[in-house]
Subunit: 376 residues, 2 copies
Amino acid sequence: MASRFQFNISATDGAARTGMITTPRGEVRTPAFMPVGTAATVKGMLPGSVAETGADILLGNTYHLMLRPTAERIAALGGLHGFMGWDRPILTDSGGFQVMSLSGLRKLTEEGVTFKSHIDGSKHHLTPERSMEIQRLLGSDIVMCFDECPALPADRERIATSMELSMRWAARSKQAFGDRPGHALFGIQQGGLEQDLRAASAEALQEIGFDGYAVGGLAVGEGQEAMFGCLDYAPGQLPHDKPRYLMGVGKPDDIVGAVARGIDMMDCVLPSRSGRTGQAWTRRGQVNIRNARHADDPRPLDEECTCPACRTYSRAYLHHVTRSKEMIAGMLLTWHNLHYYQELMAGMRAAIAAGTFAAWQAQFHALRAEGDIEPL
Amino acid sequence: MASRFQFNISATDGAARTGMITTPRGEVRTPAFMPVGTAATVKGMLPGSVAETGADILLGNTYHLMLRPTAERIAALGGLHGFMGWDRPILTDSGGFQVMSLSGLRKLTEEGVTFKSHIDGSKHHLTPERSMEIQRLLGSDIVMCFDECPALPADRERIATSMELSMRWAARSKQAFGDRPGHALFGIQQGGLEQDLRAASAEALQEIGFDGYAVGGLAVGEGQEAMFGCLDYAPGQLPHDKPRYLMGVGKPDDIVGAVARGIDMMDCVLPSRSGRTGQAWTRRGQVNIRNARHADDPRPLDEECTCPACRTYSRAYLHHVTRSKEMIAGMLLTWHNLHYYQELMAGMRAAIAAGTFAAWQAQFHALRAEGDIEPL
């Protein structure tokens, strides 16, 4: 194992890159999709099953963990990895995004944010310094700066003010993070859909200096076209030789479009959340397994998929257990969705390495355009 | 694989027996505990995980499956085994017990029972003939006679009338079942807590002739002392050389007491249902993992247990995910409970084979009397 955090790009194809992040906890093949383990569990999955899907790294949520069971408790128990039974790398967010989403329950100042817990209404304070402390207590391998971002659309002044505050918080985050060999700190670019503000943010972050850079403040209501418009320039404003992380994205076609624009890492609750509501993602797009057309269908969700749901079960079974609200429905569909997402990433990595990513994308879109298999 | 249903006793110790049921689908080591897979899934478990706990056989519920997804649909899809991904033996109940539990929603006649679905209020009819047809459509390996039983306490006349009806239904079940090599049909003894009625029922069943015999009508509110009182004589009224199945039992000490009295098979929802509500069963008795005393406890539920919950997780983690209502809580605790139940059965089988079952029982009770480990 490496003793420090490294990133190496092994191939590029257009703006897309493939490579490897190396940490003392293990390697992360990029482009990487990180399943979300909000409250110290990827909902509906055992950690060994998450690893079986091909995930190299998980995301943990500072906001949820600080409230329950608390970062101090997890630290006393030896850290998040052992607590949740996942020994590979973990990236933690800063808590900022989720606290900002608690409209009405929070108060923002230069110092930080005061908010009330959604669990018991208790009052909490988050600052760049406290976020760094929590992420250290959790034992996170990749720590995110504490930042603030407005929902889009927002006016330019609100976006500029927010970005500037986030840059001051980024400097405080770096200062508080200190020197922690083997652990990485990522800065977060803000600036909404304003190219010059994004450039200013990228410049401010690089002056501070980080191990990786996130494109923040997207996937907050702007739509795919606007997001891709921003990704046409934002990754290029960030250092070429550091990982670029697009936070909270997304649907499979969002992910493919982001990778094509130079993104190396992503996370999203979508594959797991969809799985718990009967939604499956396949090479042919989205399938609502609750639909009555699946009730007698002996075929698997995707005949080429090798996940346990597709290897063992018919659409009829998945339909039955979803309708019956059985736990196995969420377990199998989450597994399938995470498996599909990891296959998607593996396919892109191979295509970028082979220099055939354009053809791979054409095939990806062509199969989705065909749509799901016809009912029997 | 055997081409027909067989039962062989390899050792006895007092009234307790150990042996093997052989079916074309596989072997069942007795005494056997059958996890309940009500709606074509053992709640919270993948079938491979159920097999890993050591279960040789599952129970499926005719009542639930006939309503959703329907027996005809499962038959068209190739049967219950393939549908739910479990290729080992399956025993199905007759639907009788669950229909009888629908008080107010059902009407009982000599012919059978008319009832309304708890799912959509639709009207259904169950008779011995229809129950046999449904269990055949499901592809059940061990089919149960359609019977009727009153909740206890009930007066002697109600018990006698009900038992006699069940015996007429047993004859009709046998007739309707016909000759199905490789599949077994079990009769169900009734008679409440009346020894002479139990004897008459056992005699009536043996005149018809079955591949195995259940002790029915217990675990319906009479309490452990009364149940054991009945089990002191009921198994001995049934043939020695056929499996004896105690339906719907029970807690670990119920199970041990039943095996000591000559029972070979049992089923119960308890280990899986308990697991979904934060209740764990260990060698030291019941543990409520929701209790605050576990919040900081780094120790496993049971340090000698080899299940994934005990191998990987602390009580603190199990407490956290249970309090947080995470799916993994029910998944891990169900796995642990089913694992513990199967270890219990394996322990009893080994002790009976070694002729040390009395000492084994003393140890079982002594450890439970000590109670759960002290808080840190």
